[in-house]
Structure formats: structure tokens, C-alpha cells
């Protein structure tokens, strides 16, 4: 009898501790919604599509930040995707066995570097390097495009996107690599037996088979890029303007929170910043659910075979 009740208590205690993870999520949604409410009430949907950010007059529109977040993440994805796929293909299919483990360890190391260190490197190496070498080069040869015009500051959209892409490469490449490794070797052998070259085997048998898993990896990388704060804050230049040029400074949702939150003096100002955080939360939530659903579908497909 005594043993039975001890077991019951143990189970109850574990259940309560497990429950508190769910409680944390609910509490997070409720308390952020509560504090964001004044801004939601005051600005409504205008918050999303106006671009005035004036703490003095208490007019808040988040468009420049949404724009900055979306563009910097999209650019980062654009740069990171081919490189990560290349790494994943190389590590899963091409590299000699003795290189696979050390190389993948080195690329995982990139994920372990704290983002504030990325930012530090961005300020003192990447931004000056872009200002003195890359931006003049781009301006000289591609200056006719509006993307590459304007002053060379170094800090700005371009440097933020580059830093972000470096930070999400390990995420995308290691998940893609895992997905590639689950592709049955019969697929590859079939392609090789038909006389396909190595690349054709990879393209037809591996990449085709792993498509949805790779998409999941990309979306997970995107989720990471959207929420990344410190490194971006340190190199994006922090200017709430929408500009067509990649050289121009910009601002993201995460960095406006990081920069202005502890200076927000009025309730409405604070509430507007919390609303930005709330939007960020929902966007990343949807993205993560989508990524998990895709990756889950891949693993379900493998289990079924």
C-alpha cells in the first residue's frame, strides 16, 4: 500500500513539473498580450504598415523593423542555402571518410560561438572589410543597380545579412546532412547502375528524395535568423528607414527591442516594443511548427519503409 502511494506521488510530481513547461508558454502568451494591449488598442493594424517611429510624440509604426527583419533574413537565407547544401552534400556524399567527422565538427563549432562574439567580429573585422573592399568593388561593377548604391558605411543591411548567413549555415547544413544520410543507398546504387555521374546521382537520387527534409531545415534556419538579436544589432546600423540599397543602415524587430527597451519611459512606448516582440513570437512560432511538420513527415516516411 505504502509503495503504491509513493509511486502515485512520484508520478504526480513529475506530471506537475512537466506541466510547468506548458504553463510557461501560456503565461508568456498571456503576460505579453496583456502588456501589448495598450499599443494594439491605440494603433490597431496601422502598427504593421506605417513607418513613423516617434517616441516623443508617441506615434509608433513598426514597418521599418518588419521590413528590416524580413529582408535581412531573406538575404541571409539566399546566401546560406547554396553554401549549406554544398557542405551537406560534400559531408554526406563526397568527402573521404577521414575528413567527415573533423569537418562537420568544425562547422558545428560555428553554432557554438556566442552571438555577441559574432557581433564583436562584425564591428571590428567584417564592417571595415566591407567598407574598404567589398562595397567599393560592388559599387564599381554593379553600381547601376539600386541595390549597390549610396555611402559605404560598412555597417548596414549587407553586413547583417552576411553575419546572419554565417550563423544559420551550421543549422541548415547539419540537418540537411542528417536527412541525406537517411536516403537509402539503394537509391544511389540504382542511379549509378544506370550510368549516372556522381553529381547526377546526388541530384536525382539524393536531393530529390530529401527535398522536404531540406525545406524543413531551411525553415528552421529562417526561424533562427528572424530572432537573432545581438550580432545583428551590432552591425546593422540601427536606423529605422526603408531603403532600397543594401549598403544603407537598417533596423530589425529584435534589435529595436534590444536597443530601446530599457530606455522606454512611457507605458505606450514599452507597450509598442512588447507588441513587436509579440509579433516576432508568433511569426517564429508558425515557422517552427511548419519546419517540424516537414521534418516529422520525412522521419515518418522513413519509419514506414
Amino acid at each position: 500500500m505504502k509503495i503504491k502511494s509513493a509511486d502515485l506521488w512520484f508520478k504526480k510530481a513529475a506530471a506537475i513539473l512537466a506541466l510547468s513547461a506548458a504553463a510557461l508558454v501560456i503565461l508568456l502568451v498571456c503576460s505579453m498580450a496583456y502588456y501589448a494591449l495598450p499599443a494594439i488598442r491605440k494603433f490597431g493594424l496601422h502598427f504593421l504598415h506605417t513607418s513613423t517611429w516617434d517616441p516623443v510624440k508617441e506615434i509608433f509604426g513598426a514597418l521599418p523593423f518588419i521590413y528590416g527583419t524580413v529582408i535581412s533574413s531573406a538575404l541571409a537565407l539566399l546566401m546560406a542555402l547554396p553554401v549549406s547544401l554544398g557542405i551537406a552534400v560534400y559531408l554526406a556524399e563526397l568527402a573521404p571518410c577521414c575528413l567527415r567527422e573533423p569537418l562537420s565538427f568544425l562547422i558545428e563549432l560555428l553554432a557554438a560561438i556566442p552571438s555577441v562574439v559574432y557581433g564583436l567580429w562584425g564591428i571590428f573585422f567584417l564592417a571595415p572589410f566591407l567598407r574598404e573592399t567589398v562595397q567599393p568593388f560592388l559599387f564599381r561593377y554593379f553600381g547601376f543597380l539600386p541595390l549597390f548604391q549610396g555611402e559605404f558605411y560598412g555597417v548596414g543591411m549587407l553586413s547583417a545579412a552576411i553575419i546572419l548567413s554565417i550563423m544559420i549555415i551550421p543549422t541548415i547544413s547539419s540537418i540537411s546532412r542528417e536527412v541525406f544520410l537517411t536516403v537509402p543507398s539503394a537509391q544511389r546504387e540504382a542511379a549509378l547502375a544506370l550510368g549516372a555521374t556522381r553529381w547526377e546521382t546526388i541530384r536525382l537520387a539524393v536531393l530529390g528524395y530529401a527535398r522536404s527534409g531540406v525545406l524543413g531545415a531551411v525553415i528552421l534556419g529562417l526561424g533562427r535568423a528572424l530572432g537573432e538579436t545581438m550580432a545583428v544589432t551590432m552591425v546593422i546600423g540601427n536606423r529605422p528607414e526603408i531603403s532600397g540599397s543594401l549598403f544603407a543602415p537598417a533596423y530589425t524587430m529584435a534589435s529595436v527591442i534590444a536597443n530601446e527597451f530599457s530606455e522606454a519611459t512611457t507605458d505606450l512606448y514599452l507597450s509598442a516594443l512588447i507588441e513587436i516582440g509579440f509579433i516576432l513570437f508568433f511569426v517564429t512560432l508558425i515557422i517552427n511548427i511548419a519546419a517540424r511538420a516537414l521534418i516529422w513527415r520525412v522521419s515518418a516516411k522513413i519509419k514506414a519503409k
Binding site: 506541466l19 502588456y35 547544401l85 554544398g86
Partner: protein, 287 residues
């Protein structure tokens, strides 16, 4: 004949591109490490570990308070996140075949995906606003939230790897279920769980964003858990964006110490873990 040559060339080109992209990724890695080590090592000295930051304009000083502050914050977050994560994981693995457990798993995934700055806002609304002061507790709360899902899912994965025969053997000897879990299952899975915990610590040690408006930073020794407290990543951030050369040097030194700290913790996992778990550990680090 031409088509064969073309296919061969494309093959070589694409394989070359894959190799090149691996090399390309190593470039920033080498550059970051090169900078942190070369700039950091000239600024790290004995004072760095033993002195408080100096006022603007005076040379020297260190980040001893920030190092201590980071250790305190890590300790405090472990205090609540480890029990919650481990026992939550035990529940999921041992009793978790119901809808309730599915909800908990989903919540853990949600927590895992939340940007750390949003977690900072959450901790601000829950602790800083009612207490009307930035505090070490609110910082530890924010960092703990980041740890919980990692530890919980790692514990669940590891417990599921424990063979059922072990459980059955224990139960057949008349051991109660709770005793079986604590002294057989948890004990067997201990290296894996420890790895999960260490990885979670390695992850929060470098977190800056959730501390910006919770722990806030402090230029003096920690004064109490309800007071603002210094943290190494915060100090690096503040020094990096300052206009003073001397502070920039200190920031590099701080970055070197922080990276060494994070890698030391990650390295520890290699010693506690058995090779067969390693694959799982890699995946965990990513999430």
C-alpha cells in the same frame, strides 16, 4: 560523344562547388578565432580576472565582477531549470503516452523556438515590472527558460534508450516503479542527461539578449539577487559598442574568456558521453 564530356565537366564542377562551399565556411570560422585569440590574448592578464572595471578614461581594470556574475546567473538558472527539465523528461519518457504529454512536448518545442530576446521581454514583464528593479533573479529566470526544453527533450531521448529488459528486471525483483526509475533508469541514462545539461549551460553562458533588460549589468560586485548583476556577454556588448579603445581591448579579452568557457563546457560533454550517443548530441546542439 560531346554529351559525355559535358556531363563529366558538370560533374566535376558541382563536386568542386560542394568542396569549395565547405572551405568557404571555414574562412569565417578561422577569421573569428584568429581575431578573438590574437586580440584577446594581448589583453587578458591577471588584472582582468581580479579587478573591477575602471571608470571611463582610466586604463586597466578587469571583468572579475562579470565573470562572477555569469557564474551566479548560470548557477541560479540551473537551480530551477534542471529539476524541471529532468523530471519533465522523466514524465514524458515513462508516463508520456497520452495527450497531456503531447501538449508538454509541443510546449517544449515552442519554448525552444522562441527568440531569446522575446524570452527577455517575458522575464521583464513577470519579474522586473512587479519588483520595479532589474535583478539577478529575473536574468536567471530568462536563462532557465532557454535551458528547460533542451534538458527536457535530452532527458526523454536518453531515457527511451534505456533497454526495457532493465526496467522489467528491476520490477520483477519487486522494486517499486518510482525506485526503479530513480535508481535504474535515471542512473543508466545519467551520462546522456548530464550531456544535455552541459549543452544547455554552454548555450546560456553566451546568451546576451535575454539579459539586456533583466540582469541589466552592473559595474560592481554582485550586491544581491534582487539587484542588477553583471554578466560577461553583457559587458562585452557594452564595451564593444562604446567609443573607447581601451574598452574594445577589454571586449576582446572578454570574448576570449567567454569562448574558452563555452568550449570548455562543450568539451566536458565529450568526456561524460559514450560514443554511441554522440550523434544525438550533435542534433541537440542545433536546436
Amino acid at each position: 560523344m560531346n554529351i559525355y564530356i559535358k556531363r563529366k565537366i558538370i560533374n566535376k564542377l558541382m563536386c568542386g562547388a560542394a568542396f569549395f562551399s565547405a572551405l568557404l565556411t571555414l574562412a569565417p570560422l578561422i577569421s573569428i578565432f584568429g581575431y578573438v585569440i590574437s586580440k584577446g590574448i594581448t589583453s587578458v592578464n591577471f588584472d582582468f580576472f581580479t579587478h573591477l572595471p575602471m571608470p571611463v578614461g582610466e586604463h586597466g581594470g578587469g571583468m572579475s565582477n562579470a565573470i562572477v556574475g555569469t557564474l551566479i546567473l548560470i548557477g541560479l538558472s540551473c537551480l530551477w531549470a534542471i529539476p524541471l527539465g529532468v523530471f519533465g523528461g522523466v514524465y514524458l519518457a515513462e508516463f508520456g503516452n497520452n495527450k497531456f504529454a503531447a501538449a508538454v512536448r509541443f510546449s517544449a518545442d515552442v519554448l525552444n523556438g522562441i527568440p531569446s530576446i522575446v524570452i527577455g521581454i517575458f522575464a521583464y514583464t513577470v519579474f522586473v515590472l512587479p519588483m520595479k528593479s532589474f535583478s539577478a533573479i529575473s536574468g536567471a529566470f530568462a536563462l532557465g527558460i532557454i535551458m528547460v526544453p533542451t534538458i527536457m527533450r535530452a532527458t526523454e531521448e536518453m531515457l527511451r534508450m534505456v533497454p526495457f529488459a532493465l526496467r522489467e528486471a528491476a520490477l520483477a525483483l519487486g522494486v517499486s516503479q518510482s525506485r526503479m526509475i530513480v535508481s535504474i533508469v535515471l542512473k543508466t541514462a545519467l551520462p546522456g542527461i548530464l550531456t544535455g545539461i552541459l549543452l544547455a549551460i554552454a548555450r546560456i553562458a553566451g546568451e546576451t539578449a535575454p539579459l539586456l533588460f533583466t540582469a541589466f549589468g552592473n559595474r560592481f560586485w554582485p550586491q544581491g539577487l534582487n539587484q542588477p548583476i553583471a554578466a560577461l556577454p553583457l559587458q562585452i556588448f557594452n564595451y564593444a559598442i562604446s567609443p573607447y579603445d581601451d574598452w574594445h581591448r577589454q571586449a576582446w579579452a572578454g570574448a576570449l574568456v567567454l569562448i574558452l568557457m563555452v568550449f570548455l563546457i562543450s568539451l566536458l560533454t565529450r568526456f561524460v558521453i559514450k560514443p554511441k550517443y554522440r550523434r544525438k548530441e550533435m542534433i541537440w546542439k542545433q536546436k
